[in-house]
């Protein structure tokens, strides 16, 4: 490769252009992350439970979503889900009926070590619950109740049959109750952690494409600056088809 003014100029141009592509790609990459964070932040803000899910169904973004519910625990008997460990200790999960604006919600209050635990007592009067929504364990929907009356899984069918009312299509897993009870079941961790947010494919693709274009700049540099030069002597014999060629 012969070092000349043209080669130097084109090399500087290639550096500048590929740097611009890298900057643009990096910017699209940070846009991708910002959009994801904004979507997650929007979902991390608790909303009233009936805005997140209803009896008829729920949007995909409501799974794992933090919600609040203000209402009363209903009169139907609480249900126990058998054989649920907490930190290795055997026990049961407690499912209680909670009514908000006349709609019944299955609330997973937490874990108790025995079916006679005093923490099973539900508070009287209006309370505000904070927690997150989780799907029912409907893969066990057809399992009959155990002989002792406890549930095998958090089955929506079994719960609705036991309480005689339809329930909201997601379970509220209790995290906080206001006012607090003196003795309450221990909160259980969420099975499905994060809500489903749409991934910004377009920005992620632009990120990649800008990096591809940065590489193309150097492909072009190699072809036009490095490879073209040795043939220059030969191609001079045939007049260039390009009147505005930078070679001139």
């Amino acid at each position: 490769m012969r070092v000349n003014a043209r080669a130097v100029a084109l090399t500087m141009l290639a550096v500048a252009l590929s740097a611009m592509c890298i900057v643009a790609g990096t910017w699209q990459g940070s846009r991708t992350r910002d959009i994801l964070e904004a979507e997650r932040a929007a979902l991390a803000d608790p909303i009233p439970i009936l805005e997140a899910a209803g009896i008829d169904g729920f949007p995909a973004s409501s799974v794992g979503r933090p919600v609040t519910a203000t209402g009363d625990f209903a009169d139907q008997a609480q249900l126990l889900v058998a054989q649920r460990e907490l930190d290795g200790r055997p026990g049961d999960w407690v499912i209680a009926p909670f009514v908000v604006d006349g709609v019944t919600i299955a609330v997973l209050r937490g874990w108790v070590d025995s079916p006679s635990s005093e923490s099973l007592v539900v508070p009287q009067g209006a309370v505000t619950l904070n927690g997150a929504l989780q799907p029912f364990e409907d893969f066990y929907a057809d399992q009959p109740l155990r002989p002792d009356g406890r549930l095998v899984a958090i089955s929506r069918d079994q719960i609705e049959r036991a309480w005689g009312v339809p329930v909201v299509s997601l379970v509220l897993v209790l995290a906080e109750q206001d006012p607090e009870s003196d003795a309450a079941p221990l909160p259980v961790p969420l099975t499905v952690q994060t809500a489903d947010v749409p991934f910004p494919f377009q920005n992620a693709a632009y990120t990649l494409q800008w990096f591809v274009f940065a590489a193309f700049v150097w492909v072009m540099w190699w072809l036009w600056v490095v490879r073209k030069s040795p043939e220059e002597g030969q191609s001079r014999q045939a007049p260039s088809a390009d009147p505005d060629s930078l070679d001139a």
Binding site: L10, L13, F201, Q202, A205, Y206, Q209, V212, F213, F216, V219, M220, L223, W224, R227, K228, S235, S240, A241, D242, D244, S245, L246, D247
Partner: protein, 112 residues
């Protein structure tokens, strides 16, 4: 000029595919989005997003084909960059296609 014909065919295919998609996206879907707001949800939202996605990746192929034919034709840097950028401007790739095809055909004719 071995391979010049194949390079031209590849470039012409990419110029037309990229150009037609970009024309549809800008003439049909940009008004749908910005004048009528019809691409917020449903099937149109999906078509809109997939359309621009596809154009992004097709343009990458267009640039590759454009670099190939431009180097084989020993186009100048300015001319090459003009051909490559034509894939981002609605309808410009049809003019780039016409120009490149005419130039290549003339070159092939003088060598025949």
């Amino acid at each position: 000029m071995k391979g010049l014909h194949g390079a031209l065919v590849r470039f012409r295919i990419m110029a037309w595919v990229t150009g037609v998609l970009l024309a549809i996206m800008s003439v049909v879907f940009l008004p749908l989005k910005y004048a009528f707001g019809l691409t917020e949800q449903g099937i149109l939202a999906t078509v809109y997003a997939v359309g621009w996605q596809a154009h992004g990746w097709l343009y990458v192929l267009y640039v590759a084909a454009g670099l190939d034919i431009s180097f084989r034709m020993r186009f100048s840097v300015v001319r090459t960059v003009a051909v490559l950028l034509a894939g981002t401007i609605p309808f410009a790739s049809f003019f780039a296609d016409h120009y490149v095809a005419k130039t290549v055909d003339a070159r092939l004719a003088t060598q025949a």
